[in-house]
């Protein structure tokens, strides 16, 4: 896979500025996404990594207008997709974007398909909704082509089958076929392989790679799995407690993480490629997003804080540590020290050995 350089002269395909999403709950208002800025360029493969509650899925649902309001509430300075501000569109205009210019792939394809219709009809329907001139017959032909493209064996037979007749991996393939049916410019895949076994996951990743080559759509892969991020993405956003804490090209990020949380994730990961002396876990729990910590939201769990008051009182903004590598840490220039401590405990340097 070739890495697409983050060419700043290009126009971003989607640009998100100061996105905030909150949910009203019984116990208070959850600030699920807190002032997030990011962009994705045409043809880019963007990995978004974070643990549950980091706001990675909510971010995507927010820009797609899929956050139920109430209890949710979405606000942003702008969410610009090809010059259009998505947040100013009404539900009908938004529906034209969803499934057409931007499509989504979810974790569990069983609930994403309607159990009473055949897979084939649902894909054809998705095509015909966005292209009224397409005949039923043409839509069927195209659906079969799509199924065959994503590696569904005997697609003519499979076309007429119901979701329950598909295995989990096959359903996910069909989901991908539906997602690319209208040649989207952006595909958002939210934990597309989490529910699948590792050998099936490998098949699906293969399909995702293939369709990106075929369609050249920009892809956002949301996952908690650093392995998937490392293997698939060009560029990565690391999210923690509703904020982007670090963003860099995938090689930069793994070779020289500039946020202690990213390094913490790497150090707590058991791995197949080397034998570790021990895992270095991140102490404590992710914070409450009803009352997030003041200053840096990672400071209660951070080794780099060393009791310094900046971490507690000042909100770190994303700063450019090196070309295209941004981090939201006050003391990112001390990361090398911490990395050495990690290496001593874990037994290996958890950072990637790639030259950057």
């Amino acid at each position: 896979m070739t890495q697409r350089p983050n060419d700043s002269s290009r126009e971003p395909l989607l640009e998100v500025r100061n996105l905030n999403t909150t949910f009203k709950t019984e116990t208070g208002t959850v600030q699920a996404v807190r002032g997030v800025n990011w962009e994705i360029y045409p043809g880019e493969f963007l990995g978004v990594v974070g643990e549950s509650g980091s706001g990675k899925s909510v971010t995507m649902a927010s820009i797609m207008g899929l956050v139920p309001t109430p209890p949710g509430s979405v606000g942003a300075d702008s969410v610009t997709f090809e010059g259009k501000d998505l947040l100013s569109l009404n539900e009908r205009q938004m529906r034209r974007i969803r499934g057409h210019e931007i499509s989504m792939i979810f974790q569990d394809p069983m609930t994403s398909f309607n159990p009473v219709h055949t897979i084939g009809n649902q894909i054809s329907e998705a095509i015909r909704v966005h292209d009224s001139k397409m005949t039923r017959r043409a839509a069927k032909k195209r659906s079969i082509e799509l199924l065959s493209l994503v590696g569904v064996p005997s697609p003519e037979v499979r076309f007429a089958q119901f979701p329950h007749e598909y295995s989990g991996g096959m359903r996910q393939r069909a989901m991908i076929a539906m997602a690319i049916a209208n040649q989207p410019k952006l595909i958002i895949a939210d934990e597309p392989t989490t529910a699948l076994d590792v050998t099936i996951q490998a098949q699906i990743l293969d399909v995702l790679n293939l369709i990106q080559e075929e369609t050249d759509a920009a892809t956002i892969l949301i996952t908690h799995d650093l392995g998937l991020i490392a293997e698939m993405s060009d560029r990565v956003l690391v999210m923690y407690a509703g904020k982007v804490v670090e963003t860099a090209t995938v090689f930069e990020l793994f070779a020289d993480p500039k946020h202690p949380y990213t390094l913490g994730l790497l150090a707590s990961l058991p791995r197949l490629d080397s034998q570790l002396d021990s895992l270095l876990s991140i102490p404590g729990q992710p914070p409450s997003l009803i009352t997030p910590p003041t200053g840096c939201s990672f400071h209660p769990r951070c080794d780099l804080t060393k009791g310094r008051s900046e971490c507690r009182s000042e909100l770190p903004v994303l700063v450019e540590a090196s070309n295209g590598h941004h981090t939201a840490c006050h003391f990112w220039d001390e990361m090398t020290e911490i990395a050495e401590v990690v290496t001593d405990t874990v037994g290996i340097d958890v950072r990637s050995s790639v030259e950057t």
């Binding site: 509650g53 899925s57 909510v58 139920p68 409450s288």
Partner: protein, 318 residues
């Protein structure tokens, strides 16, 4: 369809956020740890209190109970004393809700009638619940032929045309509050048994029951400590439904003249007057008050049931 799924994902994520938020710091923020404990019961109660209709229903039924208990002090007249000078008089300052065909004060009869309805409602629902829970738990936990036997009995009871049989039984046994309670309970327990069995079966499959088996808990202990408490809270919802149903049945029986013996006042009995066309058309004060009271009472109890169901919703509880 995608939207639905997303909502669900968001919901889960939101729950995760809240869950993480409420989690106390394991390294011990002692003050917080000692703060109020959020038992599932307390959370349910708090949710219930936020359910306005349920709260309203609760207040109404509460007042009704007080009225029934203190009927002697509240009723302006003896409900059974016949005022020969005032047959079928419309509401006046003397008789706020008028008098009936026998010259008895409608308001006083309404107040005393609450006793019958509430007694029947509570007693029948409790007996049905008791019997149903016992048999339902037995069927669900023991399983095998016990289960088959109990569930077939349930099917048989549910397939009877119950009102007919109730009428027959009451006719044979003679009308009295006791008979009515027994007969209603006899036909209501299968509903409870069915729900309890279903609940018990699903609880039996949970990981916490598996864990309890793994530590060596006996079946009896599991039933007592894990299954019964899990079944109990949704059972209160069933209880409200059964109580409402029982009150309606009692009213129906009394209306048909098979309820409590005359001259004891009961709401259904008061409605009996409306069988006469003249009364129905020209003397609404005789039947509107009991009719309305029955309707509002049943509605109030159903609201309480709704509130309880929302409060115990397991999706919210997790």
């Amino acid at each position: 369809m995608n939207d639905e799924r997303t909502e669900q994902i968001l919901d889960e994520e939101a729950q995760a956020l809240i869950g993480a938020g409420e989690a106390p710091d394991p390294r011990g923020d002692m003050k917080r740890a000692k703060a109020k404990i959020q038992s599932p019961g307390r959370i349910a109660w708090r949710r219930f209190l936020r359910h306005r209709l349920a709260l309203g229903g609760m207040v109404f039924v509460g007042i009704l109970f007080l009225v029934a208990i203190f009927a002697e002090f509240l009723a302006p007249y003896d409900p059974n004393v016949v005022n020969t000078s005032a047959f079928r008089t419309p509401p006046s300052s003397e008789h706020w809700l008028g008098t009936d065909s026998a010259g008895r004060d409608v308001l006083s009869r309404l107040i005393f009638g609450a006793r019958v309805s509430l007694t029947v409602g509570v007693a029948a629902a409790l007996s049905a619940l008791g019997l149903g829970t016992l048999l339902g738990l037995l069927a669900g936990v023991v399983g095998g032929w016990v289960d088959s036997f109990i569930m077939r009995a349930v099917d048989v009871f549910l397939s009877f045309p119950s009102l007919m049989l109730i009428l027959l039984l009451v006719a044979v046994l003679g009308p009295s509050i006791g008979t009515i309670v027994v007969v209603i309970a006899l036909f209501e327990w299968p509903t409870a048994a069915r729900i309890v069995r279903q609940m018990a079966l699903s609880v039996k499959e949970t990981d916490f029951v598996l864990s309890a088996r793994a530590v060596g808990s006996s079946r009896w202990r599991i039933m007592r400590k894990h299954v019964a408490p899990a079944v109990l809270s949704p059972l209160t919802v069933v209880g409200t439904l059964l109580a409402a149903q029982a009150i309606l049945l009692e009213a129906a029986l009394s209306f048909l003249g098979l309820g409590v013996k005359q001259p004891q006042a009961s709401w259904g009995g008061m409605l009996e007057e409306a069988k006469s066309l003249t009364i129905l058309e020209q003397m609404p004060w005789m039947w509107i008050p009991p009719g309305l009271t029955i309707a509002v009472t049943v509605l109030a109890i159903n609201f309480i049931g709704d509130g309880l169901r929302d409060a115990f919703d397991p999706r919210q509880q997790m």
